[in-house]
């Protein structure tokens, strides 16, 4: 048998989780990881050019990112499955890339019945037939832990970065943390990076008023979390001296609720009896939570054409009416501009700030 070649695997850019993908691909699966270039306007142009018109925007972003990953030397692309249209991304992405003439191997989770454990092993073997399972499991769990740390630090960062009393120390500490995660090669690296970041963020003096403006972010799983896709909405809000809270992240959506979000639904049953889509229950629950905790505003983020999130909007409108909390609905497509977003955010900020003074 010929010597098995080591794969160069890539997965499209996705918020700051690519460090965890990299860790899992390299440490757990023993492959090489090709980091796709940072998302830029070019990524979007490539993706939009070759995508069907009214597919959701993350599809276009991912297609662009995959093309750039192939240009960067990847020979294997990986695609996940999912509960909404995401579950069909893989096959169409592969077809479009093949029609364009790219040559690569495609590992698509939608090809496998992921409710069966046996299938996981098949997927793992496709990455690397000689994989050591004990090592794989251990390193895989560490990769997930890295994702949890990223979520934890990111949440802390956006809550406080608007109140940094120094000249950008807070932001530097966050970026140092990300660098540590992107370069981590062992559990010790991950743990040390996390502890250092906690300490560094805690050491920066903050200038936060007693009752700062607080805004909760809800929305679609990709666009709400990916700073490039939402045009750095969280940073923009934070820079206006707002505490930004977002529940939706990999930790909360996947790692903490393996058996479904039934317990979250208890509190929103009057608004939504069933799951209305993959992230509806969590979003409705969190929006009500924000409203009850007296947040000054809620921002709902989705990509154009995201069916599940469109269906959540009437529920959010009712929450908004019941609790008298302003909700800003933002839809992102490939053409959304920085300036347009800024105008809307400024207006939203002025409004919630005025309300806070009056109320």
């Amino acid at each position: 048998m010929a010597e098995a070649k080591i794969r160069s695997v890539s997965f499209p850019r996705y918020a700051e989780y690519n460090c965890a993908f990299k860790y899992i691909i390299e440490q757990a699966l023993g492959c090489r990881y090709v980091m796709p270039p940072v998302l830029t306007k070019r990524t979007m142009e490539l993706g939009t050019k070759y995508s069907p018109d009214f597919v959701c925007t993350p599809f276009k972003t991912m297609l662009g990112s995959m093309i750039e990953a192939l240009e960067a030397g990847a020979d294997t692309l990986f695609m996940t499955h999912g509960l909404c249209r995401l579950g069909y991304y893989g096959e169409l992405l592969e077809q479009i890339l093949r029609d364009l003439g790219y040559q690569f191997d495609f590992i698509n989770l939608s090809d496998y019945d992921m409710s069966k454990k046996k299938e996981y092993i098949r997927v793992v073997r496709r990455f690397n037939p000689k994989v050591n399972y004990a090592r794989f499991l251990l390193q895989f769990m560490e990769g997930l832990r890295m994702a949890e740390y990223v979520d934890d630090i990111t949440a802390e960062y956006y809550r406080n970065c608007g109140f940094d009393a120094t000249e950008g120390q807070y932001k530097r500490a966050y970026q140092d943390f990300l660098t540590a995660m992107y370069t981590a090669r062992s559990r010790a690296d991950v743990e040390a990076g996390y502890r250092a970041a906690k300490a560094a963020l805690g050491a920066v003096p903050l200038d936060k008023p007693q009752q700062p403006l607080r805004v909760g972010i809800v929305g679609e799983f990709y666009t709400a979390m990916d700073a490039f896709s939402n045009l750095e909405l969280e940073q923009k809000l934070a820079d206006m001296r707002v505490e930004v809270h977002r529940w939706m992240n990999v930790t909360n959506q996947f790692l903490r609720y393996g058996s479904g979000q039934k317990n979250l639904r208890v509190k929103v049953r009057d608004l939504s009896r069933y799951d209305m889509g993959p992230t509806s229950t969590a979003n409705i629950w969190y929006a009500r939570e924000c409203a009850e905790r007296g947040f000054d505003g809620i921002v709902h983020i989705k990509s154009a054409g995201c069916t599940p999130e469109i269906d959540v909007m009437p529920v959010l409108q009712n929450i908004s009416a019941d609790y008298k909390v302003p909700v800003l609905y933002l839809t992102y497509d490939a053409q959304t501009s920085d300036v347009g977003l800024m105008t809307r955010l400024e207006a939203f900020y002025d409004m919630i700030e005025m309300r806070k003074k009056v109320l």
Partner: protein, 296 residues
């Protein structure tokens, strides 16, 4: 939105339980406009029409049926819109005090259709036995009706003349204000319109794999299977969808990339009131087919 697929099932079930059913009038301009006003702008045309129909029924009956149909098993899912329907209408029509009735089909969570109907029967105050009998009769009626429609398609297939396959969800293809204008035009032009989704469902699900190995939507798979079954019989295929249908946006793109031997027309309907635009496109599509076959 499932009315055209399920009306035999629903109607028989409630009739057997001794209940009266009220059906909203066929879609017209007023229904479409009312629905559009109620819906979020970006929602698909089908949902807008659906909300228009619900609005027309509000206050006219004790319950309005709004089921949640999530999936019939692995890779047999419905668009997430069918998951959200009951909660969506309850939220949109919150102030009307209208009561809604729903049942939940989610085979991946072990909630089959039969159990769902029994539960609904219980909610309406019927005994389990009555509900079970009603469901059995209803299911039978549905199958008989579907079989008859498939047979009619088979007959049409054997007829002489130009045939065009319409690949669309039933709620688009059969809606008088949407897809029916297309069928009517084809008939007027002397063409036999066939429907991709009116085929034997099991066979279609199997054959759908030829065109797409991971397609996860039940109805899209029936359409794909229908195309696989009929692509040799027909002279052209119209991919008919409502703007901006989520599954169709992707599946139709894939069909266009994989079905290369038959002329394809990708027709997306929006809420325009005139039919002239659609007619022009159909006319030129027919001309292309005739030209290709040397009949023009």
């Amino acid at each position: 939105m499932l009315y055209y697929r399920c009306y035999a099932l629903w109607k028989t079930f409630f009739q057997k339980l001794g209940m009266e059913t009220v059906v909203s009038a066929p879609t017209d301009r007023e229904i479409m406009e009312r629905g559009t006003a109620l819906a979020i702008d970006e929602a698909c045309l089908s949902l807008k029409v659906y909300l228009g129909h619900v609005a027309a029924l509000v206050g006219r009956c004790d319950y309005i049926l709004a089921p949640r149909v999530s999936n019939f098993g692995r890779q047999r899912a419905m668009c997430t819109r069918f998951e959200s329907t009951p909660d969506l209408v309850r939220n949109v029509f919150r102030d009307s005090r209208q009561k809604f009735l729903s049942y939940e089909v989610d085979a991946e969570q072990k909630k089959g259709e039969e159990d769902a109907f029994l539960e609904m029967g219980k909610e309406l105050g019927c005994t389990a036995k009555e509900a079970k009998r009603a469901y059995k009769a209803a299911k039978k009626a549905e199958l008989v009706q579907h079989k008859a429609r498939v047979q009619k398609q088979e007959q049409l297939c054997r007829r002489e003349g130009m045939k065009i396959l319409i690949a669309a969800h039933s709620y688009v293809a059969e809606d008088p204000y949407m897809g029916k204008t297309v069928t009517d035009y084809l008939k007027k032009a002397g063409i036999i319109p066939l429907r991709a989704d009116l085929v034997d469902r099991d066979a279609a699900l199997k054959r759908s794999r030829e065109l797409s190995s991971t397609c996860k939507w039940e109805i899209s798979r029936e359409i794909l299977g229908g195309i696989a079954l009929r692509r040799e019989t027909v002279d052209g295929i119209i991919l008919l969808s409502a703007f901006p249908c989520g599954p169709d946006a992707m599946v139709n793109e894939l069909i266009a990339r994989r079905v290369k031997d038959v002329p394809l027309l990708n027709l997306v309907l929006d809420s325009q009131s005139g039919t002239a635009g659609v007619e022009t496109r159909l006319e030129s599509f027919i001309d292309i087919i005739r030209f290709k076959e040397g009949k023009l």
